[in-house]
Amino acid sequence: MELVVFVLAAAMVLVGAIGVITRSNPVHAALSLVLTLFGIAVMFVSHEAHFLAAVQVIVYAGAIVVLFLFVIMLLGVDRSEDISIEPITAQRPLAAIVGLGVSGIVIAALVSSRSAISTSGDGIDASTVDAADANIRQLARSIFSNNVFAFEITSVLLIVAVIGTVLMARRIKLREAGK
């Protein structure tokens, strides 16, 4: 059963990821990204990370992809582009070498250290994992005790990001108003 879930979720993740980099229409790429994000959410569930799976669906698949689609529609770039031309000579073979190299190096490191990580995992805290909200309790206890300062800083970060974006996206009309 666990194997079936893993294979299906892995297929979703990989098909979606390949769709993001191969579809010529940005709207199709964004919808492929949704497929990948849902696959990752399924894997979070199978790792007992229920809260993160919910946040993944709501924030990533909900908010971020909708923001992408909104910007695509706003800018009017929702048409296919010609991705068969290669702007820089030999860019794609080199990029393929680098991409395969990154994956290969990480996989080699994993294989060489597999004895440390190959346990199939018995949940985060096996004594409390039976309770329905055990994951949220543990996560909240860690965030609001050990990491409370980082949590407060993220609220500052969000405020700064929102104000910065509003200032950046606003059309400057002060100069005409001053004349």
């Binding site: 194997l3 940005p26 990752i40 080199l94 991409g99 969000l158």
Partner: protein, 105 residues
Amino acid sequence: MLSTIAPTNTWYLVLAAVLFGIGTLGVMVRRNPLVMFMCIELMLNAVNLTFVTLATAMSDINGQVVVFFVMVVAAAEVVVGLGIIVSIMRRRTAATADDLSALKG
């Protein structure tokens, strides 16, 4: 027979490594800034999957806490990045990263 095989943590980590490689490839190959941004999201998700898998392997909830913060920062990053892309695209309609060479030496 098949039901006796359970996926180990290494499978998840290998999948995350492959996903990260695909994201890297996309950032280097695609020329549309929006699609390059989506590929960055792919790489962020690969790292998140690694964190959650190792949180399970090490029985340490702090791996999931890091993923929580990565998601918050990713949301802020997308907002700022899309704002920059919108303000660039207002001035020029061509939607490729190659045309944005004003800072080229």
